[in-house]
Symmetry: C2
């Protein structure tokens, strides 16, 4: 597994720094975020380590699918239970346990963690935060898939990775998980109003209403004129770093 | 010809804004700078329009070469005089006249212009500023090829584009041009000390000494630990925008 790490000057000087995990979207690798988002300036400003994993296992012997939205590049940050995926596609264990363990023993990283992501990675950030109480100080997402059990991208992936039993899907669905969340984290969601995937695959209103129903505080912002691209992320990433830095500093 | 344009909010509100032209390096298109540099935030901050042209003519019927450093993607911002290049490779006329004319009639752009670039595009920015007195308010470069007549990248390209008469090459060489510059512009050059092309192709010390010889003020900064990549550009672009904004505002 390849992953990208940015160490701020504070970490290079030996300080134990909090870590922001960034989960990318469909078709991405560990490169997209570090190349396009302008995150390094913000990470240096706030003294955060940034870790950006790949979006799936890859390579020879790893199952794949010709579609861009299944298999390599499309791991959906869950632990697959159905063949042929279950052998390698254990992304939830990887991003929530294996990778943090590696980061916290290999770099001057503290155990204060925050998590964010885009699209499929926004879904990944939300479910990882909701499924792992006590592990993260804050969560945010750009243009997340919030209800994979209810939208085509999620249904295709979950059917493949988890099999036909739809009850088992709910433990990987942010809208389902927020209803029984055992802790309340600072939660920020940004969405472009001109995002081509908004009404079919993303449907952020489902997360907003599920959060309101259980009294989970959520800041959900719609931005007219913005689409699904990294230009949108770069435009508002400053706010996400401030959101996470505040929670991580208080930790 | 494709080119990228960023219009800051001030331009969208109808104000005539100054324009910063960015010339990219070998193998680049109009996409690299707008994707990787984080320029939009700075352009919005300073109220500058940013224009990033492609690095050569392209397409069917346009001459090319299998090398990455000649032909399409490697126009060197000069007007070619040798066949087969002279038919389409008129990049200097394009970036210094045709493109600004188009920008200034198509957008709410003022005629206050600045120019910058990276590597081959740093060469392009320098020669374009030095060759066109009165046309630009300021110039800067990251990791520029400063003396193409003296280094392998430049010699290969100039032999092809301009023919064997080396005297004719000098009008496209920043170190030669600065010696007879008819105006002094604010000039900032940033160079990574760990740039793999530093000693063979870039040789910034040649520009520094040529500038000192004629009393042309130059700010030349060497940065240890930085290479030839867009991460280097993103790290110091803020200073270049401030450099140009100051000159353009005074205009």
């Amino acid at each position: 597994m390849k992953f990208a790490v940015y160490l701020p000057p504070q970490a290079l000087e030996g300080a134990r720094c909090p870590v922001l995990y960034w989960l990318s979207g469909l078709t991405c690798t560990e490169q997209n975020f570090i190349t396009k988002a302008g995150a390094q300036r913000l990470a240096a400003l706030h003294g955060l380590i940034v870790v950006a994993p790949d979006t799936s296992p890859r390579g020879e012997g790893v199952a794949d699918d010709p579609g861009y939205d299944l298999g390599q590049g499309a791991g959906f940050y869950l632990d697959a239970t159905a063949a042929p995926w279950k052998e390698h596609f254990q992304m939830q264990s990887y991003v929530s346990r294996e990778l943090p363990d590696l980061i916290e023993t290999s770099f001057t990283a503290s155990s204060a963690r925050a998590i964010s992501g885009h699209s499929m990675g926004g879904h990944g950030a939300l479910i990882t935060a909701f499924r792992n109480p006590g592990r993260y100080k804050s969560v945010s997402a750009f243009s997340p898939i919030v209800a994979p059990t209810q939208v085509p991208w999620g249904q295709k992936a979950f059917e493949a990775y988890l099999g036909a039993d739809r009850d088992s899907w709910k433990q990987w669905d942010a809208v389902a998980l927020i209803a029984s969340a055992r802790e309340q984290l600072p939660l920020l969601v940004d969405q472009g109003a001109d995002d081509q995937f908004l009404t079919q695959h993303l449907r952020p209103e489902l997360l907003e209403s599920a959060a309101q129903e259980v009294g989970y505080p959520i800041t959900m912002r719609m931005h007219s004129g913005y689409d699904h691209s990294y230009y949108f992320i770069a435009s508002f990433l400053e706010d996400h770093f401030a959101h996470h830095a505040k929670a991580l500093r208080a930790a």
